[in-house]
């Protein structure tokens, strides 16, 4: 089935975007990314280790020519820090498709939407294509889109919590109102959570901890791949209506 999706003019087949943090080793990380079937991986931008420059790098294990690197602004609490980080990322990798996240507080890692909106405007003016982590608020999602977000990425639950999609109503409202792709970013804990996001009509799901902290990350990556595909198919197939009571599947006629 031909079911691709497009963000900022770039077309992808896999609807699963995976992070590259929290893995025990680069080898395990690379194997999990492979098993997930993801075409886009998120990465962070950090100071090089000047005291030990010989250490292996992420790029040695996850080839940026094979996977689209999506640099993030994790750890940034102001628009200024986020924009500065992404300008460095663009210089390091040459990519303009980026993941913007501007955090409000360490405890919840909830986005600061005032700073997020400000950063989105600056980045769009500066030629970036920002995919934006945001609250699950349909109005905020519209404002981001107007500001130049090429995708809106509402949280399903707090980053790293694994609590699943907490508010299906608001995620569905965002999907219905958006003209850009909607990606659930954060909160997925297990395969059914990813399937729910896709059944709500999201264009994709972005996750890191659910795979990295699974007892078997590579197997969980496979599970997530299957879940995203299953959820997408179920959305496209159109689920049955809900009834308040039972409706027999076997004919009533001809009963002995």
């Amino acid at each position: 089935m031909d079911d691709q999706w497009t963000v900022a003019g770039r077309t992808f087949t896999s609807r699963l975007i995976v992070g590259t943090g929290k893995y025990k080793s680069f080898e395990e990380n690379a194997a999990a990314v492979e098993a997930s079937g993801a075409e886009i991986v998120t990465v962070a931008v950090r100071r090089v280790n000047v005291s030990d420059p010989g250490q292996p790098l992420l790029t040695d294990y996850i080839d940026p020519k094979r996977y689209s690197y999506l640099p993030n602004t994790a750890g940034c609490y102001t628009a200024e820090e986020a924009v500065r980080t992404l300008r460095l990322a663009r210089e390091a990798g040459g990519w303009d498709l980026v993941k913007l996240e501007v955090l409000g507080e360490a405890k919840t890692l909830y986005p600061d939407m005032r700073e997020t909106l400000k950063a989105t405007e600056i980045l769009a003016r500066d030629g970036f294509k920002p995919m934006v982590y945001c609250v699950d608020d349909p109005i905020a999602a519209k404002q981001l889109e107007e500001a130049g977000a090429v995708a809106v990425m509402p949280l399903g639950a707090p980053i790293g919590s694994g609590l699943g999609i907490q508010n299906r109503v608001t995620v569905r409202l965002i999907v219905e109102g958006a003209k850009v792709p909607v990606i659930v970013d954060a909160g997925v804990g297990t395969a059914s959570d990813a399937a729910i996001a896709m059944e709500l009509g999201c264009d994709g799901v972005l996750m890191n901890t659910a795979i990295a902290e699974a007892k078997n990350p590579v197997m969980m990556a496979r599970a997530m791949k299957a879940a995203v595909e299953a959820g997408r198919l179920a959305y496209l197939a159109g689920r049955m209506g809900k009834r308040r009571y039972a409706d027999p599947s076997s004919p009533l006629a001809g009963l002995i």
Partner: protein, 71 residues
């Protein structure tokens, strides 16, 4: 050979380097592959293509970054 040194900061740490070197020289001396890093000099991006032509000067502050795992 000119042994005069100047004082700069790299990723927040003070450092002394030979006077007259370029930013590309600095990266090499730090053991870094310029193809895998980005350099900010005094809060301005120093484009990779220009690193060999930018002189390191007394008091310069550098941020040198690369990609690491993240979500």
């Amino acid at each position: 050979m000119n042994q005069e040194t100047i004082s700069i900061r790299v990723n927040g740490e003070p450092r002394r380097v030979r006077a007259g070197i370029s930013v590309a020289d600095l990266a090499r001396e730090l053991g870094l592959d310029v193809a895998k890093i980005a350099v900010e000099r005094n809060r301005e991006i120093a484009p990779r293509s220009a690193l060999a032509g930018i002189a390191v000067e007394e008091g310069d502050e550098y941020e040198i970054v690369t990609f690491v795992g993240g979500g």
